[in-house]
Symmetry: C2
Subunit: 453 residues, 2 copies
């Protein structure tokens, strides 16, 4: 059997597992399940409705539990943890890397957390406490304190002998050894590729790389992700305020940060969290969605209230009621484009001071040009439809006003929200459509009241 | 100066560079610029308006040009390439990794591409042609054919001596050596961590890892990203249909895939491309945005046409015109939530066959429950506002109908679009709001016509 055949098989493994589950061949399903990587099992669990998820979770080997939990999104993980008893939680937490353990432990009942910490040897307890002392979304919270350090004055031969003694204890994803001085201060890295290609009699100091600037533990995870992307890193040293090496961040954790950042922007626009469980219980989902619908209902009533001010006008010229959604909708669409572009710019750290003025001016120019084009098109269609040049002129004016407002709001609103600490990915689109609805209705119906009556 | 002080300095480097540019201290700016990593220079270029971007690009050292271009998003890169002359392009393309060269070369004029290929030695030409023979968004297009291979029968000591001879030629991000047989068939990997921790007299076959399944060159980049995430990989072997090793994918390229996937979903909802240059020329941006506004205008006119069918009804009961945007908007918001959740599920490969039925049912239940809650709230407010129980009952019925339709559409539409090969991230939200607008207006105004008149 060729490797590719194996691969194609593997590609369909999940499907076959699903079939085994569906047909009730539980023993076979269990065997197939536990042959998967923890990350794959986690992916599979997330894709299952609640009842099936619980059955499958029960089939996972105990020694895999911890690794699988680490790979799950927050909501699914919290749900599974809440259903585990003390023994299961203790078993799942054993053998995990310190950074993973730190992630898990924060969602466990306090009594069990204490028990787990008590069960660690002094070194591991100190390491865990070091990670837990930083917020989860900082470099300190992301790091793994378990690093291999060497001194600059030793020879590569000594390093090699040291590594041979460590053997299986070498942490995963070790591409660099960390070079520190007597006080634990970070000096540089010794890449394994250098170690294996240089003369064993060379000292670490002679061949080590000084290129890698350490990351302060206080950096936000987004900043860490940008550093990894821009420097093409596999791992990076983390230091405290004194420059003492306290851990190492590896790219697999950064990949999760980047994935979550993207999902946060995408899901946030619809008022959802990136941790949202697709198969959360109906009542929980209903409650969460209700909040978002409620917020949006307020803005919808605001728009209605604006329309309500012009009841008399609409009564006399019903065409206005027919056409008014067009004015609001064009503004909403144009504004969303600018908003989206600006939110991405903020997330990538590419909008600051001097270039925001450029962006606003550019968006204003684009909005103005597009308002001219579409005001003309809509005016012609609406004028012919209702056989009225007055309506044609009115809707053209209203669309022009709304598209220019939309461009301004789309560019300035997220920058302003970001400045006052409100997440533009979450609040931006509701506020934007509130503005474009109100301005759209006000401009169209207001101008109509002034000129038609 | 402590390491942290250096780091904080580094954090403000971009700002200081900006200041140097603003104040016209060009020589100082140039020195600061060329001390940055190519990824950082690319990030900076993307954040600059066109004129400043061109000035800065002119300051970048020639030997950095190629690496910087590789790190840029497609649109900015194409723009800069289009302004480079033959000599500059040849210089920029020299010294690049084969996978990076393959990315660049596809955007250069044909004559120059030919010249570059002709200038390569036979091995590199073959490698380049191998990458170019696969679409850009597949494993084959992502891979770098430049790998270090070893035979299973040699000892670790021999491998070490081989590596020492190679020295600087070891590709970046080499965490594993690839083990292949005499025919070049992929057998397994020899991690550097194993190489440095095991007895030099062991053979590769004795210590190599068989865990890493190779990735077929035909896999889509999204599939590759999922594999990297679920297996926490740094690099992975790529094989052809016969299982022959043809290259290696490294995590830095996968990080870009993941970032772009997230941006594609987020930007797509607003009809923008993830490659969109924030500072593209006004006329180009206007043109692109105009297309999206045009598409949305058609759906807006559709909604207006539905309203137009009920002109007489509105003339008699103007309250309908005041309240109708609420019905449409609630449907749009509820539908977007379901749509967003479903699009994410599809992108993660977590929606297939058996669980889609569950998702649809769940969303339907959530939609139904929320429609009851909000129909009641809106009915009370609208009834009091217009002092009419008829209107209260009507709007409650219309909201219920629209929210249930919205849930169904939000869940089924993206699945259907995906099945017929249309990208739901791009077309989903336009189509959804078309449905929720039309159903909303039709239900509210239609029921009113039947019962009020």
């Amino acid at each position: 059997m060729s490797d590719v055949a194996i691969n194609n098989q593997e590609d369909t493994r999940l499907e076959r597992l699903q079939q085994a589950l569906d047909s009730g061949a539980l023993r076979q399903a269990s065997r197939m399940l536990n042959a998967l990587r923890p990350g794959e099992i986690a992916h599979l669990l997330e894709a299952l409705p609640l009842t099936e998820r619980e059955i499958l979770w029960g089939m996972v080997d105990e020694e895999l539990d911890g690794e699988v939990l680490v790979h799950l999104t927050d909501e699914v993980r919290a749900d599974l943890i809440s259903k585990m008893n003390r023994e299961e939680l203790l078993a799942a937490s054993s053998g995990l890397d310190t950074d993973d353990l730190a992630d898990l432990i924060q969602e466990m009942p306090f009594a069990i957390t204490r028990e787990i910490i008590a069960s660690l040897d002094q070194q591991n307890r100190q390491r865990l406490e070091s990670v837990l002392s930083f917020p989860e979304d900082t470099a300190g919270g992301l790091m793994n304190p378990d690093t291999i350090t060497v001194r600059p004055e030793v020879t590569l031969d000594v390093v090699m002998r040291y590594l041979r003694r460590l053997k299986e204890q070498i942490p995963e994803h070790t591409d660099n050894l960390m070079v520190v001085n007597r006080d634990g201060k970070y000096l540089g890295v010794l890449p394994l590729t250098i170690l294996v290609t240089h003369d064993p009699d060379d000292t670490v100091a002679e061949v080590m790389s000084l290129d890698q600037k350490p990351i302060p533990a206080s950096w936000e995870d987004g900043q860490v992700a940008n550093r990894f992307e821009q420097h093409d890193l596999i791992s990076a040293p983390v230091v405290d305020d004194e420059g003492i090496l306290i851990g190492r961040i590896t790219v697999d954790d950064v990949v999760d940060v980047i994935r979550e950042e993207g999902e946060h922007q995408f899901m946030g626009q619809a008022g959802l969290s990136e941790d949202e469980d697709m198969f959360a219980p109906v009542l929980i989902s209903t409650q969460r969605r209700a909040v978002w619908l409620g917020i949006n209902l307020i803005t919808a009533f605001l728009a209605s209230w604006v329309i309500g001010m012009f009841e008399e006008t609409i009564e006399k010229v019903v065409a206005l009621a027919v056409l008014m959604p067009i004015v609001a909708s064009m503004g909403g669409i144009a504004g969303s484009q600018t908003l989206t572009l600006t939110i991405r710019g903020i997330a990538l750290g590419q909008l600051s001071g001097s270039n925001t003025r450029w962006l606003v001016l550019k968006e204003l120019a684009v909005g103005a040009l597009n308002s001219i084009i579409w005001a003309a098109v809509v005016a012609v269609i609406a004028g012919l439809w209702f056989n009225s040049s007055d309506i044609a002129i009115l809707i053209a004016a209203a669309i022009t006003i709304n598209l220019i407002f939309a461009a301004l709001t789309g560019a300035i609103l997220p920058l302003a929200l970001d400045k006052v600490g409100i997440d533009p990915a979450l609040a931006g689109s509701v506020l934007l459509t509130t503005v474009t609805d109100i301005v759209g209705f006000l401009a169209f119906l207001g101008l109509a009241t002034l000129y038609l009556l």
